[in-house]
């Protein structure tokens, strides 16, 4: 049954008509618990990662590693999550400010964390501490992953607390493109070493 008000369809077929409600649609929340990987696969577990939206937004909340000093990174798949190895060309840079205010802040390109048509996982943050209060939070935008015409642009900005050997606030910015014209239909996040001890990743579609 639908609901029509003054000639305008408000609800029909179990959904609110387009034009009503907000444009940022919650799709899926994954909560880490000593997790080796967290994966969002289109069509599995109610995940939508296809042409339904032209932009997808991942949010990272309090991502805490089991192993100190590691990096948190991600990759894309074009085969439903069988392989996470999409070729990527990327940039990375980060402002870096120590808890000891007298230490000189840094603001530099990170040549060791970018990819030049590499298929490895792309760094979101590096040097993440694992003390109880240390974690990282931020966002990743992925544009039009289902396109079969264009490469797949993405941009991430994640802040983290650097490992206690040099405690600091570090704002990692990574961007680039998956250099493929095949549709991307799955995304995976993991630590370079050890598990994701705790944290939440949410996926949204931008209508």
């Amino acid at each position: 049954m639908g609901l029509i008000s003054n000639g305008t369809t408000i609800f029909d077929a179990g959904a609110m008509a387009s034009g009503f409600g907000g444009s940022m649609k919650f799709i899926k929340k994954l909560t880490a618990s000593s997790s080796g990987t967290l994966s969002f696969v289109n069509g599995a577990s109610n995940v939508v990662l296809d042409g339904t939206y032209k932009e997808y937004l991942f949010t990272f909340n309090n991502i805490h590693p089991a192993t100190g000093g590691t990096l948190f990174h991600w990759n894309m798949s074009i085969d439903g999550g069988t392989n996470y190895n999409v070729q990527k060309t990327t940039t990375t840079f980060r402002p870096f400010h120590y808890e000891t205010a007298s230490d000189t802040p840094e603001w530099a390109y990170a040549t060791d964390q970018d990819l030049g048509n590499g298929t490895g996982f792309q760094t979101l943050v590096q040097g993440l501490g694992n003390a109880n209060d240390e974690n990282s939070s931020g966002t990743l935008q992925l544009f039009n992953p289902s396109s079969t015409t264009f490469v797949k642009h993405f941009m991430s900005s994640v802040n983290m607390q650097h490992t206690s050997s040099a405690p600091a606030s570090v704002n990692w910015n990574a961007a680039g493109y998956g250099n493929t014209t095949s549709a991307v239909n799955a995304v995976q996040f993991k630590m370079a070493s050890g598990n994701i001890d705790a944290g939440v990743i949410c996926l949204y579609g931008i209508a």
């Binding site: 009503f20 444009s23 060309t89 940039t91 264009f150």
Partner: protein, 207 residues
């Protein structure tokens, strides 16, 4: 027909009641380029709202594809019903680059992409570098704050990722302000030379 629950009107006259909780990001307008010289959002025309209804407006760029190689994606704004699109801008621009061949990972200020009380269209990438290969494009977003203010200058911030014509990835951060206390009523996007071959621009209001 309206819907009233426990004495509270939820919807009436074809619209949700303003007191009904919905998302805070509202899609206002989608424009799709097709060999388009310009794409313009004019308050009051074609269902576009660009006034005091929202304090923040976000434009999303999805796979903006150029007809002409090596050009810039740009924007300007205007007041009233003016069509000159030549408001005074002071802005900053910086970019990160990295080649598909793994070379030249750099982070630099874009002196040729900023303006000091200039009236030109503001670049949303670094100078003259977006490629027009079939799989190349630009994606990202632009936020304009409180364009209807009669008191303050109008701040904006943009972040884009794009394919450089020589097979680099580029991420550009642009920010600044329209140095006017007159309300902005319209925004126009165009390529520095040649058409917007294809692509989508979505405009949102943030409550």
């Amino acid at each position: 027909m309206g819907v009233i629950s426990n004495g509270t009107t939820l919807l009436d006259a074809g619209a949700l009641d303003s007191g009904v909780a919905t998302g805070s990001m509202t899609l206002i307008k989608t424009l799709t380029a097709s060999s388009s010289a310009t794409l313009s959002f004019l308050n009051g025309a074609s269902n576009v709202v660009f006034d005091g209804t929202y304090k923040e407006y976000v434009f999303k760029f999805i796979n903006i594809h150029l007809a002409t190689n090596g050009q810039n994606f740009t924007f300007q704004a205007d007041t009233g019903t003016n069509t000159s699109y030549n408001q005074t801008i002071t802005s900053t621009s910086f970019s990160a680059y990295h080649g598909e061949n793994g070379n030249s990972g750099t982070l630099s200020y874009g002196a040729s992409g900023d303006q000091a009380q200039g009236t030109a269209f503001q670049l949303l990438n670094s100078t003259s570098e977006i490629g027009s290969d079939a799989d190349q494009s630009l994606s990202g977003s632009l936020t304009i704050y409180n364009p209807s203010s009669a008191t303050f200058v109008k701040h904006f911030m943009a972040t884009t990722n794009w394919n450089e014509l020589n097979d680099f990835t580029g991420q550009t951060f642009t920010a600044g302000y329209f140095n006017t206390t007159t309300a902005l009523t319209r925004v126009q996007f165009k390529i520095s030379s040649g058409n917007i071959d294809s692509g989508i621009i979505k405009m949102y209001g943030i409550k």
